[in-house]
Symmetry: C2
Subunit: 118 residues, 2 copies
DNA sequence: TTTAGTGTACTATTGAATTATATCACTATT
DNA sequence: AATAGTGATATAATTCAATAGTACACTAAA
């Protein structure tokens, strides 16, 4: 579930970690109250410094998505997974784009651009 | 059309510049053969060093999206704008997400995640 | 009270991004 | 030939986010 990061390629590692967790929450794989792996463990798994994981967790804390219990661990604090209908709709949308040979970076830009105007 | 960048906030400026141009091409606002503003001019507009603009243009050149004519200027070298139908479809998709109070960052992650699986 | 497991805090280092500056090279117009 | 406008190259310096190194603090259970 939380497996690997790309070091020094593209996004900062701590952002990658944040995104992983956000995705898992979004998909419903991590739910309110669930405990996250310890900072040290993740730092080993990802082969990065504990501070890098800490930074990710801190920021997620600021966003209110997780909460720390000193000496105990980090816990998910969110009830907001995405409606399965939305995922289905997204699948259809993406299938259509792929048929038309539009790639992921292009799609992201398209979404960003249209988002401003709609 | 090419107006401003956010310095020291999020993405590197040279990437922001690349994305701006890619978007304009995607939307059909910049077409094959169109000349881009001079490097010096853009560096003034964005209030960044010429090297930063050059870097963006160099990279776009490597990707084949633009071409340099030494002593003359940079020109768009691409015929790939997005089908207006796709833009319409994207509008509908986004309107639906907005109704369900899903925000842009969440949407981007959703797209990324579903992209892998479809 | 000891121990193992957890989060926290502080400082130092690194490296990509950006700037500053200067100079060279090519093109088109006059 | 001269000039103005353009891109190309080079080097050094700077800045700041990202990451690492290391030691401290809290919790729970034995």
């Amino acid at each position: 579930m939380l497996t690997s990061v790309d070091k020094h390629k593209g996004l900062p590692v701590y952002i990658q970690i944040m995104n992983m967790i956000k995705k898992e929450v979004m998909l419903g794989n991590l739910k309110d109250g669930d405990q996250l792996p310890p900072v040290r463990e993740l730092s080993k798994v990802f082969d990065v410094n504990t501070n890098t994981v800490m930074r990710a967790f801190e920021k997620l804390g600021n966003e209110g998505l997780i909460e720390a219990q000193h000496g105990v661990g980090y816990f998910i604090h969110s009830t907001s997974s995405v409606d399965p209908m939305v995922i289905e709709e997204t699948k259809k949308y993406i299938q259509d784009l792929k048929k038309k040979n539009i790639d992921l970076p292009m799609t992201k830009m398209l979404i960003e651009e249209v988002w401003k105007k709609v």
